[in-house]
Amino acid sequence: MKRLFLAVTVVALAVTAVFALWITPPRADQGFDAVRLLYLHAPTAWIAYLAFGVTALASLLWLLPRTRGTTWDLLAGASAEVGVVFTGLTLVLGSLWGRPTWGTWWEWDARLTTTAILFFLYLGYLALRRTGTTADERGKRSAIAALIAFADVPVSYLSVTWWQTLHQQGTVFNERLSVKIDGSMAFTLVAAVVSFTLLYGYLVLERFELAQLEEGREARELERAIADRVQAEHVEVAPV
């Protein structure tokens, strides 16, 4: 079943790559062939937001007493980690696309800047998860941190948007919003989004299973330590 999932994902990605690199046309107004980065940049950005949405949802489910369970905590962590990978890629790809189209590696536009803030917010979240404490304590702290981070995103976006409209009205970066999309481009974009969503699902599944293994091992080590301790105390008590 998992094998099949992986095979479908790889095929979908391969088809997307063929369309993105050979079949779609270059664009004179979007940095010629650099426009091909769009088919990576747009889906990675979408996956980043999807991943953090899943983290927020799973965290909420952990916090609700009726649905509380380690599963949600581990899912939140797995999704956030995959999300950070995709957020990093989004930033790098945006930069690589921006250089030939806008002439700069970085533009302080609202989406770019908010994405950078997002990247650091969730790096902090992942660091918080790794501080090693009991599963319940970690679940509680990271669930609350995930919800705060998620709520912070719209405020950041709003503040950066205002900042930009005050400072540089109608500069180049609006161009990106007006990419005109023809038939093969639209199809490629949809294919890219679908195949990256599949990839996201597969990666989260793998990461989730790894998290379960790690969790199981920690529990076993704790059990073993307790068993050793009990044994030791018996030995001490017995001769008396």
């Binding site: 790559a17 690199l21 270059p26 940095g31 010629f32 062939d33 650099a34 091909r36 980065l37 990576l40 940049h41 990675t44 995959v82 990978v85 990093g88 890629l89 790098v92 790809l93 690589l96 696309w97 250089r99 030939p100 990839l199 990666l203 793998e206 990461r207 299973e209 790894l210 293994l213 790690e214 199981g216 091992r217 076993r220």
Partner: protein, 43 residues
Amino acid sequence: MSHNWGFVAAGYSITTAALVGYFGWVRLRTRHLRRTLRDENRD
């Protein structure tokens, strides 16, 4: 006239490297943990 293929190549290879690298790391770690758990069970 530059067609910026360099940027495209960089973008696609960085993406591939990052995703394959991450996937590989998860796979290796999973396999390693499975093996140690199996060894521990055998004891």
